[in-house]
Amino acid sequence: EAGVAQSPRYKIIEKRQSVAFWCNPISGHATLYWYQQILGQGPKLLIQFQNNGVVDDSQLPKDRFSAERLKGVDSTLKIQPAKLEDSAVYLCASDARGGGRPETQYFGPGTRLLVL
C-alpha cells in the first residue's frame, strides 16, 4: 500500500513570496490533516478535512494560509505572503475516518520550508 505522498520535499523562498505544497493521502482515506512542525516542537494541526469539507481550521492563519481539497482526495496548502516565522516542516497525514473508533494517522515525509 502506498503511503502519504508530499511534494516538494524542500523549498527555499524569500519573505513575501508565495509557496504551495501538495499532498496525496493513502487511497481510501477520507480524513486529511496538515500540520506545521517548527524546529524543536511537536506537530501543530493547521487544518483537517473530512472528504472535501473542513472539520477544523481554527489554527490556520487565514490571512496568509489557505488550503483546499476540491475532489476529496489530494490537497494543496498555500502560503501567501510568506513570513520568516513560517520556516518549518509541513506534514500531511491521513486516516480512514474522523470519528468513532480511534484511527491511526499516517504521515507523509513532509516539506521543509525555509523563508529567507
Binding site: Q41, V55, G98, E103, Q105, F107
Partner: protein, 117 residues
C-alpha cells in the same frame, strides 16, 4: 482539554540497555494514546497505540508501551536499545471535537533519544 507531556527533552542510553521514554497525559473520558517516531528529514512513523484492554501494548521495531491509569502515564519502552533507535519520539493523545464525532491528535513536545554504541 486533552494534553500530553513529555518531561525529558533528551534521553541517553547505551546500546543493549533498556530504554524508557516518558509520557503523561491529561484527558477527560477514555484516553486514546499514541507513540510516533521521527527520523531526520522524515515524517512521523506510527509505533503503537493504546485504545483499551491490556495495559502493555506491543508495537513496531520491538517497542512497547505501558499504560498506567493511576499515574496517568504511557511510557515507551524497549528491552534492548539499538543505535538505530536514535530519533525523535512523540507521544500523542486523541482529542474529540464536541458534537461532531471527529477527532484530532494533540502531540507532546517530543523527546530525543540518543543511543550510544
Amino acid at each position: 482539554a486533552q494534553s500530553v507531556a513529555q518531561p525529558e527533552d533528551q534521553v541517553n542510553v547505551a546500546e543493549g540497555n533498556p530504554l524508557t521514554v516518558k509520557c503523561t497525559y491529561s484527558v477527560s473520558g477514555n484516553p486514546y494514546l499514541f507513540w510516533y517516531v521521527q527520523y531526520p528529514n522524515r515524517g512521523l512513523q506510527f509505533l503503537l497505540k493504546y485504545i483499551t484492554g491490556d495495559n502493555l501494548v506491543k508495537g513496531s521495531y520491538g517497542f512497547e508501551a505501558e499504560f498506567n491509569k493511576s499515574q496517568t502515564s504511557f511510557h515507551l519502552k524497549k528491552p534492548s536499545a539499538l543505535v538505530s533507535d536514535s530519533a525523535l519520539y512523540f507521544c500523542a493523545v486523541r482529542a474529540d471535537y464536541e458534537s461532531t464525532g471527529f477527532q484530532k491528535l494533540v502531540f507532546g513536545t517530543g523527546t530525543r533519544l540518543l543511543v550510544s554504541p
